[in-house]
């Protein structure tokens, strides 16, 4: 079959690999029809997350048809159209029972390795390095889905592929980012990053009752989407001082909640500061460039919530712990516990409360995956999200 493989820094290739097979009784094989490229894939593409091997198949957002089920998968049958959550979760460990699917205690076969870096191991994830299991990803014709009796969600016919595929990751992730803000009537929520995750966090904050939503980025075309689809006020950090502007917009209070939807490759408009962290990251003195995170903490009103859904991998330098501590801030974070959100968000889509597919800008055939990575990386051609059709 054809699959998108990581070949090294800034390089992916569509290669021929064997088709996956059932390895455990709770597995299913899915024939993929729609799969997406995520901002997280860019971190891998740029080589910022450790433990990638040449030839690893990428992709953790996919939808398709069940073509084979293991003997213990009672809830699915061949022919079902399913969307598959990106965290692999057993559904039976204590974390899964508590709904913390992205920290499933069983699904990472490389847990010992992850523990060395992270203290304890998170769940396995499709196509997301050997640190989270070494699972082949879904930017391919087929994928093996472990614990298929727990993760995949059957998609009703009235929900199109392009809406449903976003339930694999970015919509639940944005929604969780907003949910962690514990939004109260009258709240102002600021979101750093107008990528698919940030845009859907902003839209979700609206769904959850935020009074005002402010989105910060530097790409006008992305900020326009925030205005149009999330009713957001926008700030271009290349044109204004973000902290001043937020204080101005909130008459000195600061936003009640701040969402980091940027992650470890954040950009800074001050070339000297940007170069400082960029260099440290390049020589691996720090693994992250946390401008947006630092700013979100400083901006947040005292006693407010900093919700971090942008991805981090290792250690952060110059972390404003003093602000966090002295101003009683609450920080919440996590890889999204997607399994918890797929059903309720599917219902919101069906009820017409939201159409998350506004984030999709490009639809390309699987064979053009390398082009998809390039334009998404360079934000060319007003690219927000690339969906690959198999």
């Amino acid at each position: 079959m054809k699959a998108t493989a990581w070949m090294g820094r800034d390089s992916v290739k569509v290669v021929d690999v064997p088709e996956p097979k059932i390895m455990s009784p709770r597995d299913a094989i899915v024939k993929i029809s729609t799969t997406a490229i995520c901002g997280s894939d860019l971190h891998l593409y740029h080589g910022y997350l450790p433990a990638m091997r040449k030839g690893d198949i990428l992709g953790h957002e996919f939808l398709g048809e069940v073509v084979e089920v293991g003997p213990e998968v009672g809830n699915l049958k061949v022919g079902d159209r399913v969307v598959v959550p990106f965290p692999i979760a057993c559904g039976r460990c204590r974390s899964c029972r508590q709904g913390l699917f992205s920290v499933c205690e069983n699904s990472n076969p490389n847990a010992g390795f992850a523990e060395k870096l992270l203290g304890h191991s998170p769940a396995g994830v499709f196509g997301y390095s050997h640190l989270t299991g070494g699972y082949a990803g879904g930017q391919a014709e087929y994928a093996r889905v472990p614990f298929a009796d727990v993760g995949p969600l059957k998609v009703p016919d009235d929900v199109p592929d392009d809406q449903a595929v976003l339930l694999a990751d970015v919509f639940p992730t944005g929604y969780m980012g907003a949910e962690m803000c514990d939004i109260q009537p009258g709240d102002v929520v600021a979101v750093w990053g107008a990528g698919p995750v940030g845009l859907l966090a902003a839209a979700s904050a609206r769904l959850l009752g935020a009074d005002r939503v402010i989105v910060i980025d530097r790409y006008p075309y992305r900020l326009r989407l925030a205005e149009q689809h999330a009713g957001a006020e926008v700030l271009n950090y290349e044109q204004v001082d973000v902290l001043d502007a937020l204080n101005e917009l909130t008459a000195g209070r600061g936003p009640d909640a701040c969402i980091d939807a940027v992650g470890l490759e954040s950009h800074h408009d001050n070339p000297a500061l940007y170069a400082y962290d960029r260099t440290k990251q390049a020589v691996r003195v720090e693994t992250e460039r946390p401008f947006a995170l630092r700013q979100a903490i400083l901006a947040c009103r005292s006693g407010g919530v900093v919700s971090v859904v942008g991805a981090y991998g290792g250690f952060v330098d110059k972390f404003p712990m003093g602000a966090l501590m002295n101003r009683s801030l609450i920080m919440r974070t996590g890889q999204c516990h997607v399994q918890r959100y797929t059903r309720p968000l599917l219902e919101r889509i069906r009820r017409g409360e939201i159409d998350p597919s506004f984030v999709i800008s490009h639809r390309l055939p699987l064979k053009d995956a390398p082009k998809g990575y390039k334009i998404f990386q360079k934000k060319q051609d007003d690219c927000t999200k690339v969906v690959l059709k198999v």
């Binding site: 699959a3 493989a5 690999v17 064997p18 088709e19 996956p20 097979k21 390895m23 455990s24 009784p25 709770r26 094989i29 091997r53 040449k54 030839g55 690893d56 198949i57 084979e68 213990e72 057993c90 039976r92 460990c93 204590r94 029972r97 205690e105 069983n106 699904s107 990472n108 076969p109 490389n110 847990a111 010992g112 390795f113 396995g124 196509g127 050997h130 299991g133 070494g134 699972y135 082949a136 990803g137 087929y142 093996r144 472990p146 614990f147």
Partner: protein, 318 residues
């Protein structure tokens, strides 16, 4: 107190078993020593040395010499050292007897010859005991002990039941090829060695407390003596069960020892931790968790030599 902790698992607890042989030698030393001290005349007559005043004078000294190893061997401290000192004493006695034999004749010569033969025999036993004790000491020095634990989201009874069926062990202990229960307590274990070499032994359950703990050890005569104990400690408020494992094994020297060492890798404790992770996976999810990069499941040892995250190349599926 937990009754399990009173169970004697010498390999685990580090106690030094007193072998029957070194104990017998201790008793022999005691008998000879006391005999030579309190009744040197009788001893001299039996051994055919009653005609030599020097020999009779030397006997109490020899008796005194015997008392030290007697005490040492009976107290079971450093048996190898004490049987070694007995060998030295034996050599001294044999030298003396050799001289005595040369200048005697008739009945006395016969008695000296018998004594020499007996002492020579005892020397052989002393040498064997010394070698054995040294081997045991070396094995003890090589003894590898570890304690590892994992928390499972099942009641203690379920975790206990799974472990008590020893034939389940190879499902999560990767170095085992098979375990066959021969009866309720005994079982035959086959470990996968490097280069297809198998290591087999018999084991028995020495303590079994349903839903609480199981202790087992290899039977005597095993080339790789080993023992283990697992305790199932229920957690409050429905938080599952702590599974606490103690393991010990004494790899022999030489080729087999190297094979065993390879089997357990450079970090034996890490391997047992992986075993427990798999135990948790099998218990909670029904199977070992596999990925394309780690098709056989968890193994820190293989982590550095992972295959890329691609399906295994075994031909088309359909």
């Amino acid at each position: 107190m937990d009754r399990v902790d009173g169970v004697v698992l010498p390999e685990l607890d580090g106690a030094r078993p007193n072998t029957g042989l070194s104990r017998s030698l201790g008793l022999l030393s005691l008998a000879l020593g006391v005999g030579a001290l309190v009744a040197p005349d009788v001893l001299a007559r039996w051994t055919g040395l009653d005609d030599s005043p020097q020999a009779r004078a030397a006997l109490p000294a020899i008796g005194l010499r015997e008392l030290a190893p007697a005490a040492g061997l009976l107290r079971a401290r450093h048996p190898g050292w004490w049987t070694g000192s007995r060998v030295a004493g034996d050599a001294m006695d044999l030298t003396l007897l050799g001289r005595a034999l040369a200048d005697r004749c008739g009945e006395r010569r016969r008695r000296v010859a018998v004594t020499t033969a007996v002492i020579a025999g005892i020397t052989v036993v002393d040498v064997i005991a010394t070698l054995r004790a040294t081997r045991a000491r070396k094995a003890r020095e090589r003894l590898i002990r570890m304690t590892v634990a994992v928390t499972v989201n099942t009641p203690a009874s379920e975790a206990y039941r799974f472990w008590r069926d020893v034939e389940n062990l190879p499902r999560f202990m990767t170095h085992l090829a098979a375990v066959r229960a021969t009866d309720l307590r005994r079982s035959h274990w086959i470990a996968r060695g490097p280069a297809g070499r198998r290591i087999e032994w018999d084991a028995e359950i020495v303590d079994d407390q349903p839903n609480r703990s199981i202790a087992w050890r290899s039977l005597p005569g095993t080339r790789v003596p080993n023992a283990g104990r697992v305790r199932f400690v229920p957690l409050p408020a429905d938080r599952g069960t702590e599974v606490r494992v103690q393991l010990g094994y004494a790899p022999p020297a030489g080729g087999l020892g190297r094979a065993v060492a390879k089997l357990f890798g450079e970090e034996p404790e890490q391997q047992v931790r992986d075993d427990l992770r798999r135990f948790k996976q099998v218990l909670e999810t029904g199977d070992v968790v596999r990925s394309d990069g780690s098709p056989d499941g968890i193994s820190v040892r293989q982590q550095l030599h992972q295959r890329p995250a691609q399906p295994l190349p075994t031909g088309p599926r359909r």
